[in-house]
């Protein structure tokens, strides 16, 4: 493939992916409001469009046209940069995630992925670890005590749980023997006894999945780990002083992170795009992507479900849970996997 074609294809893929991702972000907000609404004995959005389906558009418009307030005592450069940092790094990590097998168009094999990096998983971890700065700097630059506490909580929490998150993935890495997400998915092909899919979650990584699930909730600041923005304690935490589009960026970053985390869980533990494939070639190309999105959706649903069920941790309990329970569990899982693979 000539270099110009590669660049053109990459740009097109990026644009499509960005469009899909932003739509997914908007509609996961809608989904959350709808699902939590039904769990909580209410309707969620119903007025804008059928089933409130146009609500995300209305929200987006509202965010766009709201006055963008900048409080007088903020540290302006960082105050403006922080939401951008958050949203940029949240959106970047999606670029190495494969959504399905490759399709062949015009003799060229084009994978459902912006770019296939050997160390894709490491890249995602690195990018998400930089995402902390958005939250931390937002909290600090707002010059507000609630924001500062939120920012402090966020950075401590995200750094702590990143360790468990990373360690919970090592089991999968050992089994696949690669950092490449595509190869990890390929390692999960096949079935046990002909019907149980050979996904990592059924393949000895159930504890790893559990650790990942919890650490992922903490990384994305979701219930029951939503301390950085605990509205009953810190008003709105690090984004107390933000309004209009800047607030929307944090919002987008949070949901984009959720989607990334869900994609990663699907790829690493739930067999990626693997699923029954049948029918004509076009269907065979599309179905894996469909299965991928179904799994991501299930993971997102669990996210929302948990939000409707659990109360919130306290700061010290959160730290104790991360360091004294989750980290040893992840290490145990790692040791167990290593021993099993070596044996």
């Amino acid at each position: 493939m000539p270099i110009w074609l590669f660049i053109v294809v990459s740009v097109i893929k990026s644009i499509i992916l960005l469009f899909i991702l932003l739509t997914a972000v908007a509609y996961s907000v809608w989904l959350e409001r709808k699902v939590v609404g039904h769990m909580q004995n209410r309707w969620g959005p119903t007025r804008v469009g059928p089933f409130g389906l146009l609500q995300p558009a209305a929200d987006g418009l509202k965010f766009l046209f709201k006055e963008d307030l900048t409080p007088p005592h903020v540290y302006k450069p960082l105050y403006i940069a922080a939401p951008m940092i958050a949203v940029v790094f949240a959106l970047t990590s999606i670029s190495v995630i494969p959504f399905g097998n490759s399709v062949t168009i015009g003799g060229y094999s084009i994978p459902f992925q912006v770019t296939d990096v050997n160390t894709g998983l490491l890249l995602i971890l690195g990018v998400t670890s930089i995402g902390v700065y958005g939250v931390a700097l937002a909290g600090w630059s707002s010059n507000n005590k609630y924001s500062l506490l939120g920012g402090l909580r966020a950075s401590a929490q995200m750094v702590s749980y990143e360790i468990s998150l990373g360690l919970s993935l090592v089991g999968v890495l050992i089994m696949a023997g690669s950092f490449s997400l595509r190869q990890i998915v390929d390692a999960q092909a096949g079935h046990f006894w002909g019907f149980i899919p050979r996904w990592n979650i059924f393949h000895g990584q159930i504890i790893g999945f559990f650790c990942y699930l919890i650490a992922a909730y903490a990384e994305t600041n979701r219930v029951p780990f939503d301390l950085p923005e605990a509205e009953t304690e810190l008003v709105a935490g690090y984004h107390t002083e933000y309004s209009a589009m800047k607030f929307a960026m944090f919002f987008m970053a949070e949901y984009a992170n959720m989607i990334t985390v869900a994609c990663l869980a699907t790829l690493l533990f739930l067999g990626g795009w693997r699923g029954p494939v049948f029918g004509p070639p076009i269907l065979q190309a599309i179905l894996p992507v469909f299965w991928f999105f179904v799994k991501v959706f299930c993971f997102m649903f669990v996210y929302i479900w948990v939000r409707g069920t659990l109360p919130r941790f306290r700061y010290d309990q959160l730290m104790a849970f991360g360091w004294k329970f989750l980290l040893p569990l992840a290490i145990l899982n790692l040791i167990g996997t290593a021993v099993a693979v070596a044996w």
């Binding site: 005590k145 506490l149 009953t232 008003v235 659990l310 919130r312 306290r314 309990q317």
Partner: protein, 401 residues
């Protein structure tokens, strides 16, 4: 004690502490409570509640009203249990007058009071759970509360500011279908309480957040003048309904739930069990509802029925007199306490023999309960302050009056 020496304008002390001004506009200070926190990181070093943002001078207003005109004012004190306030006030005035209240009115008052307690506890449970992050419970609680409010609307025409009790009885007969509706509610409500408890009581995060948090010993609780579930959560077995009965509460069978631990969880369990006890009292009141009048036989105090007023000259004159010049109350003073959902709701009324009260003072349970905050929270985390404020169930309308 530490809270005795708190200074009004908290200055940051040594060790790089920070002053956090929580409220009066804050999601979890339940109204317009302002709490000044001196924090070291996340740890609260000192805490000082600041109140008065909702002060409306109701006590002063009462002095300019006829006795019967005070009843609507009492609704506004504690807007979560208006009927309890109504009851306490009318009981105090009736005591001043020496009125005998017919049994049906008394039983209706008990019935409505327990519904009020359920209403108030549901709001408490919902907001308390939301403070700790469990949002779903909040909406579940409000679902049932809505039903209670509809019942209030049915009897009094108002959802919150009921003003349903009158000096000498009750304003109106409850409408047709009211008792069926209450019975229906009493039938399914215990299941709903199970539902809340399923979401909270056994939940590990909930127990982590509440057990051992914001402890208070029985001695402290008594010394600080707390009452109601806040007192009973510390293991003091005292309930005005049982120990100093009023409005024929002595004819009902109910348990007074107490817990020994004195932490947030203990107070939570007390209130949740009170929900069950209250619905039991409601059921007893429904089953044993006596027949008879709902107003005392005291024509110069109690407004006549509409029907009589239109047909009997005497009633019309009484009506005119009561409305225009009120009714004189013999000189004297009484203090009447009732068990409100929050604790000891007391009305101290001084009469000088005229138709207007000389002095009305409301003893607010929350005002005393709020004083426990420093004892409970100093040395703990910010999140515990939120849990503690939730667990003492404050209503700022009552605190500031």
């Amino acid at each position: 004690m530490a809270h005795m020496t708190a200074s009004p304008v908290l200055e940051p002390g040594q060790d790089r502490t920070m002053i956090l001004n929580m409220g009066p506009q804050h999601p979890s200070t339940h109204g317009v409570l302002r709490v000044l926190l001196e924090i070291d990181g996340e740890t609260v070093v000192r805490i000082m509640p600041d109140i008065g943002y909702l002060h409306t001078g109701i006590e002063k207003t009462c002095e300019a009203k006829f006795y019967q005109q005070v009843v609507p004012l009492t609704d506004r004190i504690d807007y979560l249990c208006p009927l309890t306030n109504n009851l306490c006030y009318v009981l105090a005035v009736e005591k001043l007058l020496g009125l005998e209240i017919p049994p049906k009115a008394q039983w209706l008052r008990v019935l409505l009071n327990e519904l009020t307690r359920i209403n108030s506890h549901l709001v408490w449970l919902g907001t308390h759970a939301m403070d700790i992050g469990a949002m779903t419970v909040f909406l579940y609680c409000f679902r049932e509360r809505e039903e209670v409010l509809r019942m209030f609307e049915m009897v009094s025409g108002q959802r919150m500011m009921t003003s349903y009790f009158r000096v000498g009885g009750i304003a109106l007969e409850p409408p047709l279908g009211f008792f069926d509706r209450v019975r229906d509610f009493a039938g399914y409500f215990p299941e709903k309480v199970d539902e809340y408890e399923n979401l909270l009581t056994g939940n590990p995060i909930w127990t982590m957040r509440t057990k051992g948090v914001a402890r208070m010993t029985a001695q402290d609780a008594i010394a600080l003048g707390t009452s109601g579930p806040t007192l009973r959560g510390s293991g003091v077995d005292f309930d005005f309904r049982r120990d100093m009965p009023y409005s024929s509460y002595d004819k009902f069978q109910f348990k007074v739930p107490i817990s020994q631990e004195g932490d947030v969880f203990a107070r939570y369990m007390c209130r949740v069990q009170e929900l069950r006890e209250s619905i039991g009292i409601v059921r007893q009141a429904l089953d044993g509802m006596p027949e008879g009048p709902i107003k005392a036989n005291a024509p110069h105090v109690v407004l006549p029925d509409r029907e009589k007023m239109k047909t009997q000259m005497e009633s019309l004159i009484y009506h005119f007199k009561i409305i225009t010049e009120g009714f004189a109350v013999p000189a004297g003073e009484v203090y009447q306490a009732v068990e409100s959902p929050r604790g000891e709701m007391g009305y101290y009324i001084v009469s000088d023999g005229t138709a207007k009260p000389y002095r009305v003072h409301m003893r607010a349970a929350c005002l005393a309960n709020l004083q426990t905050l420093p004892t409970m929270c100093e040395g703990r985390l910010i999140a515990d302050v939120v849990a503690a404020i939730g667990s003492i169930d404050i209503v700022l309308g009552e605190i500031d009056r």
